[in-house]
Symmetry: D3
Amino acid sequence: MSSLPIVSITRRETFSSCHRLHSPFLGDEENKKLYGKCNNPNGHGHNYVVLVTVKGPVDAHTGMVMNVHELKQYMQVAIMDPLDHKNLDRDVPYFKTVVSTTENLAIFIWDSLQKVMTKPQLLHEVKILETEKNHVVYRGGTTYPRKKFDSSSLHPNNHQHNVSSDSD
Amino acid sequence: MSSLPIVSITRRETFSSCHRLHSPFLGDEENKKLYGKCNNPNGHGHNYVVLVTVKGPVDAHTGMVMNVHELKQYMQVAIMDPLDHKNLDRDVPYFKTVVSTTENLAIFIWDSLQKVMTKPQLLHEVKILETEKNHVVYRGGTTYPRKKFDSSSLHPNNHQHNVSSDSD
Amino acid sequence: MSSLPIVSITRRETFSSCHRLHSPFLGDEENKKLYGKCNNPNGHGHNYVVLVTVKGPVDAHTGMVMNVHELKQYMQVAIMDPLDHKNLDRDVPYFKTVVSTTENLAIFIWDSLQKVMTKPQLLHEVKILETEKNHVVYRGGTTYPRKKFDSSSLHPNNHQHNVSSDSD
Amino acid sequence: MSSLPIVSITRRETFSSCHRLHSPFLGDEENKKLYGKCNNPNGHGHNYVVLVTVKGPVDAHTGMVMNVHELKQYMQVAIMDPLDHKNLDRDVPYFKTVVSTTENLAIFIWDSLQKVMTKPQLLHEVKILETEKNHVVYRGGTTYPRKKFDSSSLHPNNHQHNVSSDSD
Amino acid sequence: MSSLPIVSITRRETFSSCHRLHSPFLGDEENKKLYGKCNNPNGHGHNYVVLVTVKGPVDAHTGMVMNVHELKQYMQVAIMDPLDHKNLDRDVPYFKTVVSTTENLAIFIWDSLQKVMTKPQLLHEVKILETEKNHVVYRGGTTYPRKKFDSSSLHPNNHQHNVSSDSD
Amino acid sequence: MSSLPIVSITRRETFSSCHRLHSPFLGDEENKKLYGKCNNPNGHGHNYVVLVTVKGPVDAHTGMVMNVHELKQYMQVAIMDPLDHKNLDRDVPYFKTVVSTTENLAIFIWDSLQKVMTKPQLLHEVKILETEKNHVVYRGGTTYPRKKFDSSSLHPNNHQHNVSSDSD
């Protein structure tokens, strides 16, 4: 028996969506001050670039960590179908109560991917470029170590709960 | 007396807008069939990349065709102010009756620039990248030669008129 | 009646192919000297980037020169199906007798597109990036004006004939 | 005596190669199903982009972790000479028995670099972009901790052994 | 009480500077040999690309790790004001005695950012692309663990001291 | 006898130079006002990207307009040798009296290439990207048609003369 090399593979896709930054926890003036032009009432939009990374041992027969076609399908179901050519705030239930910042979008995509992946433990990173100048990276971590991949992380309302409870 | 070299200079900016492709000349079913996912009722969005080119003789004292800061200001007024972080269809009067395809967006920007430029005859090209895969170029030409830079081309309704008369 | 603005639209795709530069008109030593490492007997490969531009009047009802989905389909049939994940020299009949330089690849794609387009007269430019450092552009012109879009230009052997006759 | 800042530096190169994905451990039908169009009998190709990262203390006199010219030379010998403008499967002995996936290509490059570097312990990461949409990253790790930089890792057949033994 | 997701956000800017690589610890011949064309007496220049990453919990009310406008301001003060359209060696006091390699530039920017940030502990990474082919990454670490964010790290002379003491 | 397709090929290179915009025809205050931060006394720098395009018939035997290695050599002699890792104003005689704007840099490169090319009539375009946001294009034209490729255009002082005579 022998060891296997650990490699990560990343797949890149783009999707075109619109949104408006407006937090339900803040008043209109506060929203305008905090989000500036991103708070425009009629919204604005982006060509989001998303890079999903899976990491694991390279299968000795196939030479692959995961078949990139399999990864592509996960991304189709978890990212492209719900988000591409959509209004994030109006077309995606998750963002009806969670403000659609790129940070929260990365968290949504992470949770969404974990629900559709056969081996969610291989998911390593979600990176989103909102513009040429700004991007975010999420690797599933939290301020307090939680049991990785526990069932609660599969609920889309998970982070919304955080939001509510955080106001305690 | 001597000749001056003719050089073109191009300035690149990006703006983030949302829109929906939906033609007032077509029924709902036709719109859906023609524009596909771009017809999504709640809209979608893009990081548009716009490249504006001016072309003319290089000034012998300054070594410039036009001061790029001047060009930047024209683009601020004619492009960034009306379009960036906006809903094209709702926030820009021009697109209330003209469908906001990238072709029409290029025509809008061309006309908009000509109205603010001191020497509109230097305007050479407007290029817009809607996504990484699609872009358009407009150089002000039409199917029938029109007198360049005549006053009518400065009216934003100009092309809307074309639209109306075309249905004759 | 009124004039219509003339706009060009461009669609970008990529395909991954392999080939070997080796001219049937030259001996082995000449080939090696002329093409250098591109003459490697077992071949090499590229991620070709192809940008196809159509140019024409903007339809007043649709706001489009051509539906980009239509252009995408033409490119699928004329470019992606015959060239993507293929060995240009062995899998594409055209290149069995024509050396697969990027120049000739652009000519092949131009002719291939014209055969599948409903309005071939709208085809304006084929641009191919072979690497990050080299690209070619073909707009259908020749050293001697030929009747544009005559039937002979639709034959894939057309340029091969040029090749043969040029050796006279 | 004082501490030195730890910085990583990365050098980017591109090489153009062809290959065919076909595993000797699988039958023809399995290969076709698993690798799809990448299994095309006559091969296909890519402009691979490779980014090699070394990481270490910044020398106080030179202000460098490693002279980038030195890194460039390592990459010339370990990557460009064996892989550029080559057929991976036929021109590189390593891939005669190992399927030339991007994962395995990263492992080959890692091992290849370690053999030519004066200080192989500075090698931090090998990243390969196969296309605009897919890339892999390898940092030398395995599923079971092995003594880093032991002599066996310098043998090119190392991972091939893994492959064999994995079929036990 | 609940946990908060940890996300990193990155902001990208560019600045255009000139410099000359020439170490005060080395003779003219050694400098020329070590730095090659980068040692050209009259200097050369770059469009530096800098990516600054902050990492921390996502605020439940704002959906942000840090307001990107705040990050932009830090970068304006710590990076753009002192470095953009400047001669690094002559206009920036720090580089009068420290050779302006990209490694040292990253260290300068890290220290410079920490001095202006309200929460310097969120600073995660400074990445600088000097050319399309070379980049460096600094995350504040040193060869000997030092107490993170201690007061001494806020002094710009800190690393210069390292340089001096290193010659002992 | 038959016609040959006309194709253009483009080669891309980068060079890293520094300069200062300061016109000898203007006073210090005027220079500062006109060029802004580009007038910084100690200079600044760029990674210039230059794309040189040649255009002509495709040779029927070689399938090439020009061997790209030949083009590369012309660019080495006419662009890289005099400009890369140099101070444009101090190291290049041409810019001692001509302000080193990107417009003038394009003209210098055009003239420089014509002097070293065996078939200067194939030179079609010089494009220079100074930053990600600004680029210029020069195709050799002037305000008054001059006999193309006449001997005077081969003198580097040609445009300097224009400068002088223009002040008449």
